[in-house]
Subunit: 132 residues, 2 copies
């Protein structure tokens, strides 16, 4: 049972502007930019040999990400840890009384994911991810 970093997600006002920093100056490789209508965000996927950086830009005004940006400004949104079994991780978290945000969901690829409240993870919104 070993977790690893899957990605970190940084919320930005404008992906194109942020790419001038993260791709052009810092040298992260850009794989693709996609609209993800289910999450009301546009995402720049920047996979590295050691975990992915994602720049996320809200595409509506009323999503969770949009509200986060309006309230807190640009910056880290969440850290995604890939685990072997979300069920086992959840059992351990629930035994500790940690606050999970809703139930695990399954994305189009069949992967499972769930979020842990920042107040239960020392100030960081953690996504747990289990590949199908």
């Amino acid at each position: 049972m070993t977790a690893k970093i899957n990605h970190i997600a940084i919320v930005v006002e404008d992906i194109d502007k942020a790419l001038t920093v993260y791709r052009d100056a810092l040298g992260l490789p850009l794989q693709a930019v996609h609209d993800e209508p289910d999450e009301a965000v546009r995402v720049a996927y920047m996979p590295t040999p050691a975990g992915e950086v994602e720049l996320i830009q809200p595409t509506t005004d009323d999503s969770g990400v949009a509200k986060y940006l309006a309230k807190r400004g640009e910056g880290l949104h969440h850290v995604c840890l890939e685990v072997e079994s979300i069920e086992e991780s959840l059992a351990r978290m629930q035994a500790q009384g940690l606050e999970i945000l809703g139930q695990p969901r399954t994305n189009k690829r069949g992967d499972k994911y769930v979020f842990v409240h920042p107040k239960s993870a020392h100030g960081v919104l953690i996504e747990l991810y289990e590949k199908a």
Copy 2:
């Protein structure tokens, strides 16, 4: 020229408490906990197959990390990107007018590092790291 995630650093009040979440519940592997007197922090090193998670706890009241914790509370402190050449990265950043925090320094292992101001990196304190 490809950057990759080297580590992410999360500032916490108490490493032992944070380990109950990050090691015991989330399943990150703990390699070691060391005092780093030069930085006035205690660090839990949690290397994963895809970048390292570091929990950092200030050991004095007057360091930069201690002030950050007092002002902002627990949460992500910085993201470290490993690059092939800090000099080349700095040249690109300076050409864009991005704000670098001081000059590159060299640690005990001979590795070079420098920080980029969060206002120049869309709200994230970025450390650039070049292995010797």
